[in-house]
């Protein structure tokens, strides 16, 4: 394990539909797939997976951690390249916590009980979590 870490790093790209949100090198990526959280370390087997609204955690090579809130999308891993694709993605420092809280309240109190409402709740929760953990 140790020798893997020394010479291999992950090339990470977080891509939203209308822009490249972040790209750089990292030692670990954690994302939430439809099956549960998945952690990616260097030399991970090629993987293509759907992710749901949640928080993406990335530990960069300089020891920092950044967090982003993403919508449903994809995670693809191959040859130490990790791409996270999502229609919308926001880095934690871009999120307006107040607004996210209001969104959550609105989503919860809308009274609708379908997939779209559940999605809105999950999205708002993910944004709040991302913003809170970063601060």
């Amino acid at each position: 394990m140790a020798d893997l870490k020394t010479d291999k790093v992950l090339q990470v790209e977080l891509v939203a539909a209308d822009r490249l949100v972040w790209s750089g090198q990292a030692t670990m990526v954690i994302a939430r797939t439809t099956e549960g959280d998945v952690g990616i370390l260097p030399n991970h087997a090629p993987l293509l997976s759907s992710i749901i609204e949640g928080v993406v955690d990335v530990q960069t090579t300089d020891g920092e951690t950044w967090i982003a809130a993403v919508d449903a999308g994809f995670l693809s891993v191959a040859d130490n390249r990790v791409s996270i694709l999502s229609e919308r993605a926001e880095m934690s420092h871009e999120i307006d916590l107040e607004k996210a809280r209001q969104d959550l309240e609105r989503a919860q109190s809308s009274g609708e009980n379908d997939d779209a409402a559940a999605e809105a709740v999950r999205r708002a929760e993910a944004r709040i979590r991302a913003a809170e953990r970063a601060s």
């Binding site: 790209e13 891509v15 939203a16 539909a17 209308d18 822009r19 490249l20 797939t33 439809t34 099956e35 998945v38 087997a45 090629p46 993987l47 293509l48 997976s49 759907s50 449903a72 999308g73 994809f74 693809s76 191959a78 040859d79 791409s83 694709l85 229609e87 919308r88």
Partner: protein, 300 residues
């Protein structure tokens, strides 16, 4: 020289203020094109990664998906026509509509019914004026399309494609932005999907690895393909936006040039009229003086 100097002056003035407007619009369009191009560029990584993922799934699994199946006997086609919300862009909207008409004729010739879906007001107005049915129109975003609009359009088109009664194939007609000087109306078939002809195919030598799919290839494909369709529509909208602005800039530039020429012409005519007026006044004065002199000479 039917008009007086005053009337020519008024014309020069109004042409000048028109020129100011067209010049301003030209500059605005020029500055927005750069933004539109940047947006198109910013959206490229997403499209590229999606295309990669789709070709990975298509290569390593034999899962058939409803969106890639060729219907056996296509009876109904849907067309999405991407026009502009505002005019003053030269032949931009009309050349897209011409291309669309050509496609509609062709599809009708193949015995298919055609449903028309429209993005932006000019196209909507065109079909409404001719009292032709529009299945659905989205308006108000043509020069700054957002992904949300593309997602909504994509969802609607996918829905009609998957519906038994709905369309069996979906086409998109939009204007492709080749350069600032050339934009080309293009028609492409969106559904059923042909994955290989992506906008940016992955390079030949970069071999696709053997992916593990989670939860399963068909589930991944299920959520991948609709996004792929939406991203293609987003791409078309962004290209159309850049083309619209380029067309507008060109149209406004030639309008400004024309105004310049008109002003020059009117100024010349006005000066001629002014000189003619002066000449006439002088000859009247001279004539009057002569007449007076003659009268005085006669009375002496």
């Amino acid at each position: 020289m039917a008009l007086s100097v005053r009337e020519y002056r008024a014309r020069i003035k109004s042409t000048e203020s028109m020129k100011k407007i067209t010049r301003a619009m030209e500059l605005i369009a020029a500055s927005r094109i750069i933004k539109a191009q940047q947006r198109a560029q910013a959206a490229a990584p997403y499209a590229r990664e999606l295309t990669r993922a789709v070709s990975a799934v298509a290569t390593f699994s034999n899962v058939d998906h409803a969106l890639t199946l060729e219907p056996e006997d296509p009876k109904r086609a849907a067309i999405l026509i991407v026009t502009s919300d505002r005019g003053l862009a030269g032949a931009y909207s009309s050349s897209v509509l011409k291309e669309a008409e050509r496609l509609i004729e062709k599809l009708k010739g193949e015995g298919k019914d055609v449903d028309i879906y429209i993005s932006a007001r000019k196209g909507e107005a065109y079909f409404k004026f001719r009292q032709r049915a529009i299945a659905r129109a989205w308006t108000g975003h043509s020069d700054q399309p957002t992904y949300d609009v593309a997602a909504e359009i994509g969802a609607t088109l996918i829905e009609t494609f998957l519906d038994e009664e709905g369309a069996d194939e979906v086409h998109v007609v939009y204007t492709r932005f080749r350069s600032m000087l050339s934009q080309e109306p293009t028609a492409v078939r969106l559904l059923p999907l042909e994955v290989v002809e992506g906008t940016e195919a992955p390079e030949k030598d970069d071999l696709l690895p053997l992916y593990e799919f989670e939860p399963s290839p068909s589930d991944v494909l299920d959520s991948l393909l609709p996004r792929y369709v939406q991203s293609r529509i987003f791409f078309a909208l962004l290209q159309a936006a850049a083309s619209e602005l380029a067309a507008r800039q060109k149209a406004m530039k030639s309008a400004t040039d024309n105004a310049d020429e008109l002003i020059k012409k009117y100024k010349r005519i006005a000066n001629q009229a002014r000189q003619a007026g002066i000449t006439q006044e002088i000859s009247e004065i001279v004539g009057g003086v002569n007449a007076l002199a003659d009268a005085q000479a006669g009375s002496e």
